[in-house]
Subunit: 500 residues, 2 copies
Amino acid sequence: MDAYGELLDRLKNIDLIGQIGGLVSWDQEVLMPPKAATLRAEQLAWISKTGHELLTNPRIGELLGELEASEGLDEVQAANVRLARESYDKATKLPTEFVSQMAKHNSKALVSWTEARAKDDFSIFRNDLAKSIDLARQKADYLGFEELRYDALLDLYESGLTVSRVDPLFAGLRDSVAPLVKAVVESEMRPDMTWVESNAWSQPSQEGLSQSVSEAIGFDFEAGRRDASTHPFCGGSNPDDIRWTTRYNESDPFGSLYGSMHETGHGTYEQGRRRDLDFQPAGEANGLGVHESQSRLWENQVGRSREFCEWALPLWQQHFPENTEGVSADDLWRAVNLVEPSLIRVEADEATYNLHIMIRYEIEKKLISGDLEVDDLPDAWDDMYEEFLGVRAPNRTLGVLQDIHWSMGAFGYFPTYTLGNLYAAQLLAVAREDMPDHDENMRRGEFEPLLGWMRRRVHQRGSILKPAELIEEATGSPPSPDAFVEYLRDKVRRLYGVEP
Amino acid sequence: MDAYGELLDRLKNIDLIGQIGGLVSWDQEVLMPPKAATLRAEQLAWISKTGHELLTNPRIGELLGELEASEGLDEVQAANVRLARESYDKATKLPTEFVSQMAKHNSKALVSWTEARAKDDFSIFRNDLAKSIDLARQKADYLGFEELRYDALLDLYESGLTVSRVDPLFAGLRDSVAPLVKAVVESEMRPDMTWVESNAWSQPSQEGLSQSVSEAIGFDFEAGRRDASTHPFCGGSNPDDIRWTTRYNESDPFGSLYGSMHETGHGTYEQGRRRDLDFQPAGEANGLGVHESQSRLWENQVGRSREFCEWALPLWQQHFPENTEGVSADDLWRAVNLVEPSLIRVEADEATYNLHIMIRYEIEKKLISGDLEVDDLPDAWDDMYEEFLGVRAPNRTLGVLQDIHWSMGAFGYFPTYTLGNLYAAQLLAVAREDMPDHDENMRRGEFEPLLGWMRRRVHQRGSILKPAELIEEATGSPPSPDAFVEYLRDKVRRLYGVEP
């Protein structure tokens, strides 16, 4: 077998064990009996250890060396070699002892964060967080970076991402979105939410609505499933077995539907991968930012558009005939677009969401560089919320302790959420140029043209290009906040009549 | 690490991958989306191949050699070494090339059997069956045997089983049970089945009934699940995650309930294993015969007793108030004990079931030894059904083509079904001596004493002893058909008033 063939063969086994791990993890979240947790952890540890052993086999390093020195690799082959190199380096640059130390510390930190959050006492988490930051710095040093330590952490979640690329994006948001939000607040307008808040929304009807919408968008339920779980996610094994979840709250019908559209976006991305690249890294979905662009596209750009609400109203009426009596498409559109600064990121609306992320990004940069001390973090957090969102947390639980990410050592992850929003707006702006009937399509529930556009420009391109290159190829411009800012400005004008 | 510790460490990894395989297979049967089948097969093939590689690692052979030569192993240690040796030998004695040839042939034979059965044409399956028999003989030769080739195949499913052990069991059944069945048929008595056959039995109520009964028996739903599948089975991962299934037919309420009790028997066995022996073969459930004894115990010995029907009647009334109006415990008991010779094994009643198995056992012996040619098989089958059950199949589909086993190469498997019935009767006969209140307990739905007895005598003994030794230790006598024959004779006398 030639070197490339042997590399693909080894990558296939690594991918297969990843598929199995995906299924076992899905089961753990969705339907595992409670007493099974301990042995399930042993199974997942075995899967993780075995996958790591396959990936760090020195033979992979030899093959990569050989292939990197060779010429005439085509686009896909070059991508496979590049991506395998990235994984191999990330897996081999961190000493086994250090990985094990991190894993143990993260387990401990997760416990102290949970307790700190429950007791509203930052001091319980303080020392573990300080250690987590220290470990993240060490991790960055092992992985290597050119300018800033934080760059090495950003690169873990979106290949090629750096502070010098992210800073301009958030600057654009800060300068444009914060004033928008302020203008909305000052307008003192609030859509009529009584029809939402005064009714009970039965779970079976919510399930029916989610199912209909997901099917209409184009999720293939012969190659996937919808289930319920505490923390909604999209997982599974491979493009033929994609499983997404949502959660139901009988006093809020929007959470499950928009959560379902979000996960449907992730799911259709996975289902749309190039199948001749099964088991190859080049065929996999791109970085977290691009993945999030597909979920945000359907959740927000489509799902919160006026045209979508016109199409969806009859479905709402079918599943909730009594609750929606007298509700117009305009009422629905205004209700799903409520803009209201709040303390909690996961409950934030489309306009304020990225300000929550921007605050975390600025804080992470300073924590990793040492410009912000852990002891000063809680107040710095609250000050930034006050400055950019006009709200201040009454306690730590609603402030700095709200997110799980840092307790898991996931520094550098947050920015991908905002990248997703920016990419979604940028992609749709160009897609609209190619499809002049886009608004009319949405009004008719004809989602195939938009999904087909994404299939061609994004899904089928897999990870052949780096994320920023993919966005540039698909849209003709490098990543930028402009399309998102314009989209939001237009929307706020139509909803609230304000124009800052 | 000493040799024993290293062996256990390796066995733990083999067990873990088996646990993962159990979960992935369960998912495949119960809820996998249809398009996922192809890649699921790749995942399972990887699991099987990786497990086989771990098991056949020559280091295990070295460790076993060292440990077999050592002295002072305690009961559990000796069992682990013996059981690991059995697995290692079975895995290494068959050449890889031969295993692959068998796997390919079985896939082919499954297809031709399916087609032959659908078209009611034995000739479509004939050549593949002949090849399967030939491969089974070769397998026996690779594995080795003392007296008969068929012994090597029996041993695959129940360690230590041989024709010289099985023959006397079936002789006892043939001499006693066949005349019993004949006497029942000649009595021309049939219980009143109109209340069963004239009603519709809703699936949700059947589910509720199955759930209540399984909980009452003692299945722990915090460490397991109940689901629906086309072919009922008990699977899962480990004693903390045992998953059984049943199927529902709205015109027959007994199939789901007694299927549920059957799988609950398997499930409580797995949940009752010694937890200090996790990951060790000595702690695993014993051979297929002993496993089947636990399912048959609850399904038949308990579930079809008059006392159980007295306890269960109020549950039936609760879940099916209209259908059970005017039905007495006696009516219920007679209906669940209908004895009626039929053509299909899987639908057979408790009295005739073992005659179905006996016929297959006698045929398998002759096929393997060469005393019966494949071309003579279909008629030989029908002749034996006529002789022992008084019925003759009108076609091959209802005759020799009804079971999947031979198409999968599973010669030697059938006898374990009957062993289960015999062991169940033998165990309960002794348990009754220890628990004089047994009948009263059943009448009250107090199942804990019986489950506790099985826990101590059977479940907790794992695979420390060979199956026949375990039965002898638990009951004081080697395996025998006597208890079963006596149980059946007594029952038929009470139900039909006949006494041959």
